[in-house]
């Protein structure tokens, strides 16, 4: 019983932390989108600032970087964080991490991270080409982020472990 209470307490605090992270991600997305909406301001502001990702002589690629790292990847991560938040809320309500919903949520988060690793550059470059078709010269960009890809695969494997935990939990619940 004490372990269950501990789990509930942890789930509650993690939910609060995830809520804060989701808020930060959304603020970041809105800020990046506002920068993308007025690129003149951005190039003026960062012209002499030595900004790592922004170079005026390489405008279109810099804009694609801003789109990928400022909008697309945070959007994917925010979606994963929202799923994680829902999962921890369920965990708080039910007092057990081994439920069918948890297994499904972990698998979905894993798939989302894999998609993030593969799709963030194609989506980002396509968005930039779509918005500034006359100014963008680069072709459709494809790049795979290996770290996110491995992380996604590990999370998917974790869902298999949780699935086994769920089966054991069911067995335990049906034992009197």
């Amino acid at each position: 019983m004490e372990a269950r209470e501990k789990l509930k307490r942890s789930a509650k605090w993690i939910s609060v932390l995830l809520g804060a992270l989701i808020f930060i991600s959304l603020v970041g997305i809105i800020y990046s989108a506002s920068l993308m909406a007025s690129p003149e301001r951005l190039s003026e502001e960062y012209d002499y600032g030595g900004q790592l990702y922004w170079r005026d002589d390489d405008w279109d690629l810099s804009m694609a970087r801003l789109c990928v790292f400022g909008v697309v990847q945070p959007a994917f991560l925010a979606a994963a964080l929202i799923m994680a938040l829902k999962m921890f809320r369920d965990m708080y309500k039910r007092g057990s991490p081994f439920t069918a919903d948890t297994v499904r949520a972990i698998r979905r988060i894993g798939v989302l991270i894999v998609l993030l690793s593969v799709l963030s550059w194609p989506i980002g470059s396509a968005m930039v080409k779509l918005i500034w078709a006359e100014r963008v010269t680069f072709p459709f960009l494809i790049s795979v982020n290996v770290v996110y890809l491995l992380l996604g695969i590990i999370v998917c494997c974790l869902s298999a472990v949780f699935n086994y935990g769920y089966l054991l939990q069911q067995e335990s619940d049906e034992t009197l």
Partner: protein
């Protein structure tokens, strides 16, 4: 199912209600009801021991094996 629970029969012999049995065994009424209707997949030795102690019977009086045809 091959294993049949005869808890209701033993309880009737001892004239004991489900409520009384659940209080004396220390298992929730709902869970004992599931056990009575055979809706559980396993029984702990400790639970079986407590039931046999209260009903003053043997495990064989409660559990019965019936071969599946």
């Amino acid at each position: 199912m091959a294993i049949i629970l005869r808890l209701d029969r033993v309880m009737a012999d001892r004239k004991m209600s489900l409520k009384e049995l659940s209080e004396r065994v220390g298992v929730a009424n709902v869970n004992l009801s599931k056990l009575k209707t055979g809706k559980v997949s396993a029984v702990r030795f400790s639970t079986l021991e407590a039931i046999c102690d209260v009903l003053d019977c043997q495990p064989g009086d409660i559990l019965e094996y019936k071969r599946d045809d």
